[in-house]
Amino acid sequence: MSFNRKNAYLKMMQKGLLDMMPLNLAVIPWGILCGSLAIQRDFSILEALLMPLVVYAGAVQLVVIELMHANAPLATILFTAFIISSRHFLYGLALRDKLKNLPLRWRGSLGFLLTDELFALSGDKKSYKGKLRLVYALFAGGSFYISWLIWNIIGIAAGSYLPDLTNLGLDFAIAVTFIALVIPSIVNLPLLITVCVAGVLSVIFKLLNWELGLVLASVIAMYCGYVTSRIQAKRQAVNNSKIITMDKAQTENAS
C-alpha cells in the first residue's frame, strides 16, 4: 500500500469517527438509561451486557426489558421486538443495491451496524461505493456501536445507585438529534412533504396506539414525497417541451 493510499484510508477513518461523534455523544443519556434500566429490572450483569452487545437496538432494549420484567410471554416479546425493528427493512431495501454484491464480511458487519444513526449518514448517492467509503461507514457505524456499549456499561455500573430515569425526559436527546439530521436535509418540496406527512401521521398512529404505525406512516410519507417528485418531473418536462416548441416557432418565424 502506497503512502498516499494509506493516508486516504486514515482520512476516511477519521472522517467516519468525526461525522458520527455528535450522535455518539447524543446517545449518552439514552445508553445510560438502557443500561441502568436492565439492572433496575433485575437483569444479571451478563444479561444486561448482552443487550447492547448483541441486540444493539435502543428502543427494542427499552421496551423488551420492561416486557421481560413483567413476565410477558416469549411470543409477545419477540413480536414486539420485530415490530419496533421492522423499520430497518426499509434501510436494507434502500441500501440493497449498494451492499448486496459485497463480500459477506462487509455485508454482515455493515448489516449488523445498520442503525438509524448510520443510515442517517448514508444518504449520499456515492455512499458505500469503493473501499474508502466502506471504511468510512465501518468506522462511523463501529464507533457508534462502541459508544453505545460504553454508555450502557456506565448505566449498568451505576444502575443500582441511579434513580429511575425513565421519566426524566432523556428521550429528548434522541428527538433533537434526529431534528438536527432531518431539518437541514429538507432542500426541496418533495422532501418537505415527506417530512410533514410523516410527522402528522406518526402522531395520529401513535395516539391510536397502532404498533405498526411507525412503519406505515413512513411508507405513506415516502410515497407522498415520491409522487410529488414525479409530478414535479412531469411539469418540468412539459415546460421544457413548451420552451423547445416556442424556440422552434421563433426560429421558423425569423427565417
Partner: protein, 103 residues
C-alpha cells in the same frame, strides 16, 4: 431462559437489518422503487422524533407548558439556520433542561 430470549432478540434485530442486503434474495429494485426509497431517511427519522415531542403521557400536548415542544422549536430554528448538529444539540438541550427545572 432470559439468555435464550436475548439471543432470539439478537437474531430478530439482525434479521431486520440484514435481510434485504442478502444477494440470494430474489428481488430487483427498479429506478422507481429506488426513487421511492430515497425518501426513507427523512420519513423514518421524522416518525421517530415527532411523537416524542408532541405526545406526553399518551396525549397530544400542544401547549406552552410542554418543554419538549418549546425546546424542539428552538432546535428546528437553529438546525435550519446553522446546519450544525453540535450547536443544535447544545442549545436545545440547555433550553430543555432549563424548562424542566423552571416549569
Amino acid at each position: 431462559m432470559i439468555l435464550i430470549t436475548i439471543l432470539l432478540l439478537a437474531c430478530i434485530t439482525f434479521l431486520t437489518r440484514y435481510l434485504f442486503l442478502h444477494p440470494k434474495l430474489p428481488l430487483r429494485i427498479g429506478p422507481k422503487m429506488e426513487s421511492f426509497l430515497s425518501f426513507s431517511a427523512p420519513a423514518v427519522l421524522t416518525v421517530i422524533w415527532v411523537p416524542i415531542i408532541f405526545i406526553q403521557d399518551n396525549q397530544l400536548d400542544i401547549s406552552f407548558t410542554n418543554p419538549y415542544l418549546i425546546a424542539a422549536t428552538v432546535a428546528v430554528i437553529i438546525a435550519k439556520k446553522t446546519n450544525s448538529i453540535y450547536f443544535t444539540l447544545a442549545a436545545s438541550v440547555s433550553v430543555f433542561i432549563l424548562l424542566r427545572v423552571f416549569l
